[in-house]
Amino acid sequence: MRTLNLIPPKRRSGTGRRILTAAAVILGALVTSTSVLEAYSTFCGVHPGDQSTYYINPNFMDAGAGNTAQQIAALQAAADEWTSNGGSQFQWIYNGQSGKTSISTGDGQNVIYADPGNGGSTLAETWCSSSGGTIVGWDMRFWEGDHNWSISPGSGEFDIEGVAVHELGHALGLGHSSVSNASMYPSTSSGQGSINIRSIENDDKAGVVFLYGSSLGPPMLTSVSPGNGYARGGETITLTGTDFTAGMSVSFGENSATVLNVSGSTQCTVRAPKADALGAVDVSVQTQGGMDSLASAYTYDQNPLSVSFTGTPRVNKVFQVVVYGPPNAEYVVAIGQTEGPATIKGLEFCFARDATLEVVGKSFGNRPPTTANLDATGEISLSYTVPDDQSLVFENLYLQGAVNTGPGRAIDDFVVTNCVTVTVFP
């Protein structure tokens, strides 16, 4: 049985500018290991109907500001950047030219214009009226008295289009962002710095999607193949469905899978995450358009008996031993050496999962074996540090392990899964 979850966009209203970073990081960490830094804020509300009209007074007088048509084209391009590339349902709609040269947010005509006065360090500003979290009207003025505006700015000039992208972000309801490459960052430099903000970035897009919802359709997950794999994870799994997108996330139960590839909108390959327990789990896909899941679509099977090593044993170096077997099985390990001194000093194991370490009075080679239990998925990780003792000569050090495959059985009955000989290089 499959279920389809459509998630409506959550909107924030009012004039609050609470930064969302902390919530994004904390909650994001629950579902992904991707680093997150999201810092958009909200400004004055949202537009009803996910759209707003605007007028342009192309009255810039600076030499680089271009003619009427060029000024209109630059400001329209700024609006189109949000409409076309924001990934949200919001649309800017150009309504024509206006002769307005003053702020009057309640007149029903939202106008972008140049003001011949001085703004000091303020390049432009947006005045916005709202009621109950709904934007009623806005106007935007560029201070031209003490700033040089251009449609293709050089040093000392500011880009009309770039700064308009920033201000139109305010006009649609976004506040400033602390992400330095976002168009909604509070400040900019002249020349290329102001050109850079023509293109909205991920944080800007996240903000407008937050306010107005995504323009994408919800994904649908139809199959997961193969439908089973070992509890240790790592298998490559192919998902099929519709409306998949780059940047989609996939979960097996509560664990995030690594997305390897998204092929078109219908296929996605992922690496299965490690299981929390054996058995079936739901598989979920999530895009900006929504979320879908297939119930019990993937089954975690018992791990095969195996021992694997990572790293080369060297003095003062750590190498990892990972043992797979039945869930909660007892694992016994011993270390010895075939040649060299009779006594090996300073050998120690660290059990990565805080398992209880106990010494069993039975000798495997030169060392008594130690035991620990595999976890509920049938896995345990051990790390071994080769001691820094120049008096020792390590040759043909061997690690011998065995997994008890049944409760109540004697150690002698353990099935020896691996008898690994490693050479320690000083």
Partner: protein, 202 residues
Amino acid sequence: MLRTIRPLLLALLPALAMPCILAPPLHGGCFEEVSLDTLARDAGQIVVGRVRKVTTVMEEAPGVEGLVPFQEIEIKVFESWKGDLVFGDRVTLRFPGGTLPDGSMLTVSTSPATEDLLDGPQLLFIQEDCFGPGLHGLCHKALGSYSVERRPDGTVVVQGQEGHPVARTHDLRELRERVSEIVPEATQPPREPRDRNGGERK
């Protein structure tokens, strides 16, 4: 099996999908980039204080049709870094924005958020008399105010904001020394802020 809808995840999804963003170049812009040096030099007064009263007045403003709501913020000065204000003085700042008579809100992108100013003591870079005698504004508008916080370990810090002249968190004393290097003529003996009962903090 019906899964629980997790609406917050949708809002978070764009961030989950994007890499950690750390590096310049700086983008953005209501404001031209302003350095701390410029901010300190341009300010007529630099104080640490706390908002004591907020009122809204309706007045005309240049380039704006009709009456505009202005927030008037009365600040009690704890500490003066530049200018002639002293401990205990009251200074009134003004900036456009606020509630209109019909209950609607006017918000201006370059004004500080009033709720931020109410959140404890502030370091304020003040532009004098910009709205008339005794009616000051923030120097470089929203770039001129920063929250001051006392941490559990007793240190007092100024919370900077990305894209502002004070972009990082600074120890208050260290920042004061930095400002005094920029504007050496602006020296006032430091005073400890009073607690809510008017007593000196120890």
